[in-house]
């Protein structure tokens, strides 16, 4: 699960495969702004073939949080 979510992050934010996942925080990590957030949501929805709820999109403030949220859909 974590790797599937990370693959989407890596794709959208152009991350190095060895990037420190703990540093991925919304509005703090370079590039993860509101535009990237929309792209990221779309990528996760495609990968997991699901539709995220509004609250999940608002709560997705870090990579760890994203993994936790995607458990519900994966």
């Amino acid at each position: 699960m974590e790797d599937r979510v990370f693959a989407q992050f890596a794709d959208v934010l152009a991350l190095d495969p060895l990037a420190n996942r703990a540093e991925l925080v919304y509005n703090e990590y370079p590039g993860w702004d509101s535009v990237a957030h929309m792209t990221l949501i779309a990528a996760l929805e495609t990968e997991f073939d699901c539709m995220l709820e509004m609250d999940d999109i608002l709560d997705m403030s870090s990579f760890a949080k994203a993994v936790e949220i995607m458990q519900k859909y994966g």
Partner: protein, 359 residues
């Protein structure tokens, strides 16, 4: 539960005026004390102009700042290190812009509040979304502005986004037809700035035979440019209904200085403040509270601003409270109509930038 959590726990526009006044007063007094303790310029204003810190007896008794103050100086009530987002108003070239400093907590509360307001009219599911704008508005950094931020802020409440306009603001009829072919048979979400919805959707597409009857349109940005065309809310609604079968239309009123607090248009055409907010109308000569039905200057209150002292602001808009608790169960509190700008206030509003370009 905090007062704010209580407000969030109920349908977002449902707390009647008297109950709201009683529920919110303590929380607003606490916010005034918080800003007084943590923002030195605010404390000087309260001490110098309002006779010092004291608990207000009513919401109308709370100290208020002119909204233009945020153009003149940086004001914050948290440490500089905690600021995550700096929001700026959409001043046109040469005009000072407001700077609103938002920390993580305030930012999350704003998002939550905005989500509650939009879900109230859109439903809990994210709908396919037709943006009445161009995607260049946020893709092209030269165009990034309050308008781009506004579009982006709304986009997260939709999915499968399509854009009705090309980068030079011509109608993209193919994009709109593709969108309707895919999503037109079930509820979908449309967002645009009021002036653009009129000039770039209605005026350009009105004879295209588009069926938007499943759409829910949310629009904002002000009517100033439309007043010149003699278009008011009634004309606007009638035109969209006649040309597109579009009947679910909600205007909203809000400002960057109290972002997250969305005064949403209810079924009676009036703008209702969300549970954690309120509106007060003041006589522009005496600054006393104006009674229901009497126009005056609009003062807005919101419990959200904690990182900057913007919880009680005198706007540069004229308005009137036309009814109280009259919009039905889901639409309680004061029903506001905005009448225009206070004379001599500078031209401002999210769609003005484009209004000038498009004119």
């Amino acid at each position: 539960m905090t007062i704010l959590e209580q407000c969030f726990a109920r349908p977002p526009y449902s707390i009647p005026a008297a109950e709201r006044e009683a529920l919110l007063l303590g929380a607003f007094n606490e916010l005034t004390a918080h800003h007084h303790a943590h923002c030195a310029p605010y404390a000087r204003i309260v001490d110098g102009y309002w006779g010092g810190l004291r608990a207000a007896d009513s919401l109308a008794d709370l100290p208020y700042l002119p909204v233009s103050l945020f153009k003149m100086r940086r004001m914050l009530s948290v440490s500089d290190d905690d600021i995550r987002v700096t929001l700026t108003s959409s001043g046109t070239t040469g005009q000072a812009v407001s700077q609103i400093l938002v920390d993580r907590e305030s930012s999350m509360l704003q998002q939550k509040a905005l989500a509650n307001s939009l879900m109230h009219v859109l439903g809990p599911k994210r709908l396919p979304m037709l943006v009445i704008d161009t995607d260049a508005v946020f893709k092209d950094p030269r165009m990034m502005s309050a308008r781009g931020a506004g579009v982006l802020g709304q986009m997260r409440f939709g999915r499968d986004h399509a854009f009705a306009l090309t980068p030079d603001l011509r109608p993209d009829i193919d994009a709109v037809r593709d969108f309707l072919a895919k999503h037109g048979d079930a509820p979908f979400f449309m967002f645009g700035f009021t002036f653009m919805v009129w000039a770039n959707l209605y005026e350009q597409f009105r004879d295209a035979g588009l069926d938007l009857s499943n759409g829910v349109l949310i629009h904002s940005g002000g009517w100033k440019k439309l007043v010149e065309k003699a278009v008011d809310n009634q004309v606007f609604r009638a035109a969209l209904k006649d040309s597109f079968g579009l009947i679910r239309v909600h205007n909203f009123y809000g400002m960057v200085e109290q972002i997250g607090s969305i005064f949403m248009e209810g079924p009676d055409g009036l703008l209702y403040p969300p549970n954690f907010s309120d509106v007060i109308i003041r006589n522009p000569v005496t600054w006393e509270l104006a009674p229901v039905g009497e126009p005056g200057v609009v003062q807005v209150l919101s419990l959200l601003p904690r990182s900057y002292p913007g919880h009680s602001l005198l706007t540069e808009d004229m308005g009137v409270i036309e009814a109280v608790d009259a919009g039905g169960d889901e639409w309680m509190g004061k029903g506001l109509r905005i009448l225009g700008r206070v004379a001599k206030a500078e031209l401002r509003g999210c769609s003005d930038v484009i209004a000038a370009e498009a004119a």
